[in-house]
């Protein structure tokens, strides 16, 4: 199968996760991505944690950079003339240069549009390239809280246990990555339109993207309800502690509840005729959860999940990355590909969550070395 974007050429200037993730998405679907780096390399190369070397010693390859840049080519682009040369042949230019610096670098919307009329110019910034906050900075934690979801987490068991703690961000770079996905989608939408309208400027704000994926809170506001992390827990189910870990349980449909009752062994409390009504179950959620938690606390996660899924009860183990790497499902799907990853050696790299025509995608290689810098000298300093 030909990768879907194999005819596409992308140049990316990425100092942050959002722009790099956009390029990664396009690259995993076949686009040829060139990472245009400043002297010394993109700051992403210096983000911890660093991967241990094959011999177990501390290494110098950033896990984040290696993941984001796998499959890309890299070039240190120190002058405007070289960048201009690269952009002349590119279909898409993804850039996270702050707005205030763009004009000086000749990277502002008007300059790019004037020089490359067929280029899709994608700007990816924490708060976008237009609007009163377009100059504002924002790391992932800031983006998640500006977009709303940050204030609404944690929920369920965690907020029951720690109701007075500060709200909690989603792990890793979730907020920035939302900007990256929106940027990839924006690039492809603009490319679709290119035969009719030529190149154009795509303005992506990570805040907007976080708000979009959190749209239900706005929907509930319109329904007259203001969500709060303490109240938005599922009425029953959610994170359930077991003897050897945690599982997630969520029954939305009657048949799933019926399956759960069977899984629990048809206990007397669950056979209360009043609980046949989903509204009543919702009202008595805390009581139901007490029973479920007591039952699960003395059982193993895999036993519950396996029996429950057979009965059509939606259940899942909270899996660690190591468990996912070894999981038969992910192995079967070809989610990971062995690739050379700097001084960490050959490792399983997650490729893509997409299959096209029943086949997984593949990466052309691991993360690119910085060509003007010896591998072991990086990052450690």
């Amino acid at each position: 199968m030909t990768a879907p974007l194999s005819d596409l050429s992308i140049v990316v200037r990425a100092s942050g996760v959002a722009a790099a993730y956009a390029a990664r998405l396009l690259g995993t679907m076949g686009g040829k991505v060139l990472l245009a780096e400043p002297e010394g390399g993109t700051p992403l190369r210096r983000e911890p944690p660093f991967l241990p070397c094959e011999d177990g010693q501390a290494g110098a390859t950033s896990a984040l950079f290696a993941y984001l840049a796998a499959g890309m080519d890299s070039e240190v682009v120190a002058d405007a003339a070289r960048l201009s040369q690269l952009l002349t042949d590119a279909d898409v230019f993804i850039d996270d240069t702050p707005v205030a610096e763009r004009e000086r670098l000749g990277l502002d919307e008007a300059a790019i549009a004037g020089r490359y009329p067929q280029l899709i110019h994608v700007s990816v910034l924490p708060f976008g390239a237009s609007g009163p906050k377009c100059g504002w900075k924002g790391e992932d934690v800031v983006i998640q809280h500006a977009g709303g979801e940050g204030n609404l987490l944690p929920n369920g068991l965690a907020v029951e246990m720690f109701p007075d703690r500060a709200p909690l961000k989603i792990a890793g770079h979730f907020g920035a990555m939302q900007g990256g996905i929106a940027a990839a989608l924006g690039a492809l939408a603009a490319l679709w339109d290119r035969p009719a309208r030529g190149g154009q400027f795509v303005d992506i704000s990570c805040q907007d993207a976080n708000l979009a994926v959190g749209a239900f809170a706005i929907q509930r506001l319109g329904d007259g309800s203001i969500e709060h992390r303490v109240e938005r827990s599922f009425r029953y189910g959610g994170v359930i502690p077991c003897e050897d870990g945690y599982l997630e349980l969520l029954t939305l449909e009657q048949r799933q509840w019926d399956g759960l009752v069977k899984l629990l062994g048809n206990p007397a409390w669950a056979l209360d005729p009043a609980l046949a009504d989903s509204l009543e179950r919702s009202r008595r959620g805390p009581e139901i959860n007490e029973h479920i938690r007591a039952w699960a606390a003395v059982r193993k996660v895999d036993d519950i999940v396996s029996a429950g899924q057979t009965l059509g009860v939606p259940l899942a183990r909270y899996k660690t990355p190591a468990q996912i790497l070894a999981d038969p499902q992910e192995r079967h799907r070809g989610v990971f590909q062995k690739l050379p990853v700097g001084d960490a050696g050959e490792l399983d790299v997650l490729v893509s969550p997409f299959h096209f025509d029943a086949a997984p995608l593949t990466l052309a290689g691991g993360p690119p070395p910085l060509k003007d810098m010896p591998v072991l000298a990086r990052a450690k300093g």
Binding site: A66, A171, D223
Partner: protein, 398 residues
């Protein structure tokens, strides 16, 4: 001037949130999306949703906005035939049933290809169309649990955290990107394709760096709001009940600026904090200092001051604050949509601004069940009134 995806038509069989969010994004970008449902199995938003605490139907559903609605009873063979006629005039067929359901209905990829050779079919599911877990039922929090995102989210000393609708919707946004890629290939090669998006793999992709760390023998773990390099970094108390300020100091220069802003310039040269590695080592002490300062400040004003000083910060916003924000409204990330009774309410736009073409975003609110059958059955499929009535009487259009 048209929106960028004008001319693209989608036969939309998706249910719940992830799939519908995907097709909603594409509809906001100009695709004509025909939502296929029935009175027997109406979309979840048309019914009460007590587990989420909604005791009646929704009057507005974000992911159904801008779509067209038709009724088809897929339990009838004539219903399947009618669905295929819609696919025959579409570019994309999107579905999010459990793997195998579309095949059993006679609407699998091969069947749809025989109707429309270059169709792009999108299947969104919890675990993908293949593999030992492919039959698993699942919703957003389960995707996060399977994919590692839930396990890694949480306080260091607490349990994992369930990731809610944002998980569904990030699956949907990924799916929209994959579908657009398939359309590009169709334009280049004339060939359609079957796009298979596994929600748990999307969750794993969002922590792909931690997967890599584990593959190298490391042990990724929950870190709360902490960052492995930056300190201070997190969510700090602000003035007022349940008010918080998110901030991150990315460099020594920013730390120096924060020290000045707090009126504690001496902290910039304090050996415990002056260098990034030292601040990381003493992050609990630094959090206490910053918290003492933020606790007396209005979150919004403090964020503006911090930004002025070159430090990334924002108030931890509640939904009403977001809905009324000038910046988001100017960018059309927040828009007004009319309810059936004409009342306006806030909704969320498509997260991008394009420099050319007409304004993208939501055109209409939530369609009534079967609201657009005159257009779809009458104009697109050329069905006469008698044919439609016969199918209604036979509970095919139902």
């Amino acid at each position: 001037m048209a929106k960028p995806l004008a001319g693209i038509r989608i036969a939309d069989f998706t249910v719940h949130n992830a799939g519908p969010f995907c097709t909603n994004l594409l509809s906001q970008l100009g695709a004509e999306v025909i939502k296929i449902e029935s009175a027997m199995r109406p979309d979840a938003f048309r019914k009460p949703h007590p587990v989420y605490g909604r005791m009646g139907p929704a009057t507005f559903d974000q992911v159904a906005s801008t779509k067209l609605s038709v009724r088809i009873n897929l339990k009838k063979s004539d219903g399947i035939a009618l669905a295929k006629r819609i696919v025959g005039v579409s570019d994309i067929a999107a579905e999010s049933f459990r793997p195998g359901v579309m095949d059993r209905l006679g609407l699998g990829y091969e069947a749809l290809k025989s109707v429309k050779d270059d169709i792009v079919m999108l299947s969104v599911s919890s675990s993908g169309q293949s593999g030992p877990d492919s039959h698993f039922a699942g919703y957003a929090p389960l995707f996060g649990a399977w994919g590692g995102l839930g396990e890694l989210t949480g306080y260091e000393d607490g349990p994992p955290v369930e990731i809610r609708h944002v998980m569904d919707h990030t699956v949907g946004m990924h799916a929209a990107t994959a579908v657009m890629a398939a359309l590009h290939r169709r334009r280049a090669t004339g060939k359609g394709s079957h796009v298979d998006v596994a929600a748990r793999e999307v969750a794993a992709a969002l922590v792909g760096d931690m997967m890599l760390l584990a593959a190298a023998g490391g042990s990724p773990a929950r870190r709360g709001n902490a960052h492995p390099r930056m300190a201070p970094h997190g969510v700090y108390p602000a003035q007022g009940e349940d008010r918080w300020l998110a901030l991150a100091v990315t460099s020594d220069a920013e730390w120096s600026a924060l020290a000045d802003l707090m009126g504690r310039s001496e902290l910039a040269s304090d050996a415990r904090f002056s260098k990034e590695a030292d601040r990381q080592e003493n992050r609990f002490a630094i959090d206490a200092i910053v918290s003492e300062w933020t606790a007396g400040k209005d979150a919004g004003e403090a964020a503006a001051q911090l930004q002025q000083a070159g430090i990334g910060a924002h108030a931890s916003w509640t939904t009403p604050e977001i809905a009324s924000d000038d910046h988001l409204r100017m960018r059309r990330a927040i828009v007004e949509v009319a309810e059936p009774d004409g009342k306006l309410r806030a909704a969320v736009g498509v997260p991008m601004r394009l420099s050319k073409g007409s304004e993208i975003g939501i055109d209409r609110g939530t369609p009534k069940l079967g609201e657009h059958e005159d257009h779809v059955y009458g104009e697109l499929l050329g069905m006469g009134r008698d044919e439609r009535r016969a199918l209604e009487d036979a509970e095919v259009i139902y």
